[in-house]
């Protein structure tokens, strides 16, 4: 478990944030560029000193400004994968991964064996003599992960691990990375500016805005009760996991989600997928809607929550199958007479749904 609360001033900018990462879970830190994400990672890694606060991992203080404790990076069991991976360009894959073992004085023979196991685990077995510039983006990323993981860190810090990859590779790597993170015996802090990555990877999502933590919670909590306009806009979305089902006429595909099914545009998909439906794309009506919307769900209004900053928009949680959150204006809510317990119809267009394949296999060839 990692628990911290730190502050660090850099010129005009000040980062002051803290949260707890539960054992063996991934916390995604999401925010726009300049929100302090990388500074936060550097503080956790021990590359930057906090001005105030403390960092405690498994009961051990890595930093405690009041007590005068600061364990620098080399003394922390941390694995750090910076943006663009920062592989050592003069070393091949094997020697990149062996670097930390050599630095800690692990005997050659033992190091070789451990590196070999790690390379196999990450599918880099045949590439050990390649130099970084001879690797694809995905292979570079796995090498950087292997280099960090071979030391069996207590805390893994990932800085935009998918950002350096092209779209095609990102799609393939996303699934592999999620699988890998699920098997790790360490806590992970995953920094990203991408809402969908944060929602996909984080069991909990920490939202940073201008150096402050504005919300910490699960994807569902962010969706139901967004704490800021930024969260409402980018993170408070209906995030539905499902499995691709039948193909329909008109270029549509059914996806089984919870107790219901959602129609989405057919894009040669199969297997597990994640659907994103923006609350503002969901209409609420008292009668079944006529016309074009393809997805209609009947259910009872669960609660109405005014949205930051001004409360002119309302979040409407619906006990539908699957549960949905819609966004309506206050006037619309008043016109409909919306209130908890009221039976309504929620509808949205198939074309309004973003579909993210969970793994590479979710995308069929062609």
């Amino acid at each position: 478990m990692l628990d911290f609360q730190v502050a660090r001033r850099q010129g005009e900018f000040e980062l002051a944030a803290g949260f707890t990462v539960r054992d063996r879970t991934v916390t995604a830190v999401v925010g726009e560029s300049g929100s302090g994400k990388t500074t936060l990672l550097r503080l956790l890694a021990g590359l930057t000193r906090p001005d105030a606060g403390r960092i405690v991992a498994d009961g051990i203080a890595w930093a405690d400004v009041q007590a005068g404790i600061f364990v620098p990076a080399a003394g922390r069991p941390v694995g750090y994968v910076p943006q663009d991976h920062a592989l050592f360009p003069h070393l091949d894959v094997h020697d990149n991964v062996a670097f930390g073992l050599a630095a800690t004085g692990v005997p050659d023979r033992v190091a070789r064996a451990r590196v070999g196991v790690m390379l196999e685990r990450l599918g880099l077995g045949g590439l050990s003599r390649r130099r970084p510039h001879e690797l694809s983006g995905g292979q570079q990323q796995r090498t950087a992960l292997a280099r960090a993981l071979v030391l069996e860190p207590r805390l893994l810090l990932l800085d935009e691990p998918l950002a350096a990859l092209d779209v095609q590779t990102r799609r393939a790597v996303r699934g592999q990375l999620r699988e890998l993170l699920g098997t790790l015996a360490c806590d992970t802090v995953y920094v990203t500016h991408s809402a969908s990555e944060a929602l996909t990877f984080g069991r909990e999502i920490a939202v940073l805005e201008r150096g402050r933590l504005t919300q910490l919670g699960s994807a569902e909590q962010l969706m139901r009760r967004p704490a800021s306009a930024y969260v409402a806009e980018f993170l408070g979305v209906n995030f539905l996991r499902g499995a691709v089902g039948d193909r329909m006429a008109g270029g549509l595909l059914t996806v089984a989600v919870g107790g219901g099914r959602v129609l989405v545009p057919d894009a040669n998909l199969a297997g597990a997928v994640t659907l994103i439906v923006r609350p503002r794309d969901i209409s609420i009506s008292r009668e079944p809607p006529a016309g074009s919307p393809r997805n209609v769900f009947a259910g009872v209004v669960d609660e109405l929550i005014p949205e930051p900053p001004a409360g002119e928009l309302l979040r409407v949680s619906l006990a539908t199958e699957p549960p949905l959150v819609a966004e309506v204006t206050r006037e619309a809510a008043d016109a409909l007479g919306l209130g908890p317990g009221m039976r309504v119809f929620a509808s949205f267009k198939a074309t309004g749904v973003d579909v993210i394949p969970d793994t590479e296999s979710a995308t069929l060839a062609g």
Partner: protein, 262 residues
């Protein structure tokens, strides 16, 4: 453009050709046993190599500090480090004399330690270090400054001490520039004349390096001067050519940086 290049080429090549045509190859070979020549050759080689070694030993950490640390007066220090490159060598030699000469600023202190520098072989090395150091320090500084600091961040999170990171990351990545700088420094030391003659004098066997011997022989023994000049020419050319033609495996970043496990 072609005409200009041709003029430049002729202008540079002609003096060398003149030198080479002046004495027959057999005469050159015969002269290689001449004690004036061998004495100067040995002295030049030894002092230049020692001076280069000293510059590498002192210049590497200095260049690294200048490249990676922010502190007050850094720019001034950098400029001072580069100064000998453009300073007239006689001025440098004179300044050295004022500093380390018997009546110089530090002369008394040196004398108390039983050290007398001027007009000794050590003075030759001192002059060469002074004049050659910028040719190593300047490129070393640029190379160190060009290393991605994130590599060192990663090294630290991989539990590497600063020393380990320096020898396994910084040095291998900077090596091409360090090697080139050391070669330029050595070439400069070999050719050093003005500071040497001013500070170390011109004593055959002790301080008379090859450039000094050429200058003297020019007036007494023209053939010896030509032979010494040809030797210097060949050595200087060899150093530069070696830098350009060196296999990338040696100059480039192909080392394993001593990591375990092949």
């Amino acid at each position: 453009m072609i005409a200009g290049t041709a003029v430049l080429a002729v202008f540079i090549v002609l003096p060398f050709v003149a030198l080479l045509l002046r004495v027959s190859p057999t005469a050159v070979v015969a002269r290689l046993r001449d004690p004036v020549v061998t004495g100067a050759l040995r002295l030049s080689l030894v002092t230049s190599l020692v001076a280069t070694a000293i510059v590498i030993a002192i210049g590497t950490p200095a260049a690294y500090l200048l490249a990676t640390r922010e502190f007050r007066g850094r720019r001034l220090l950098e400029t001072l480090c580069d100064l000998p490159m453009v300073l007239p060598p006689t001025v440098a030699g004179f300044a050295l004399l004022m500093a380390f000469g018997r009546a110089g600023l530090a002369g008394g202190a040196l004398k108390a330690l039983g050290i007398q520098l001027p007009f000794t072989t050590a003075a030759v090395v001192t002059a060469q270090v002074f004049m050659g150091a910028p040719f190593f320090v300047a490129p070393a500084r640029v190379a160190f400054a060009g290393i991605d600091p994130r590599l060192l961040d990663v090294a630290a999170t991989l539990r590497a001490s600063e020393g380990f990171a320096f020898t396994r990351v910084v040095l291998p990545l900077a090596r091409p520039s360090l090697v080139a700088g050391a070669a330029m420094c050595c070439a400069r030391a070999l050719g050093e004349f003005g500071a040497t003659i001013t500070f170390a004098g011109n004593l055959p066997g002790t301080t008379q390096t090859m450039p000094l011997a050429v200058y003297v022989a020019q007036q007494t023994d023209l053939d010896a001067a030509v032979v010494l000049s040809i030797l210097l020419l060949v050595m200087s050319f060899g150093l530069l050519w070696g830098l350009k033609a060196a296999p990338t495996g040696w100059l480039g970043n192909r080392s394993r940086a001593g990591l375990p496990g092949r």
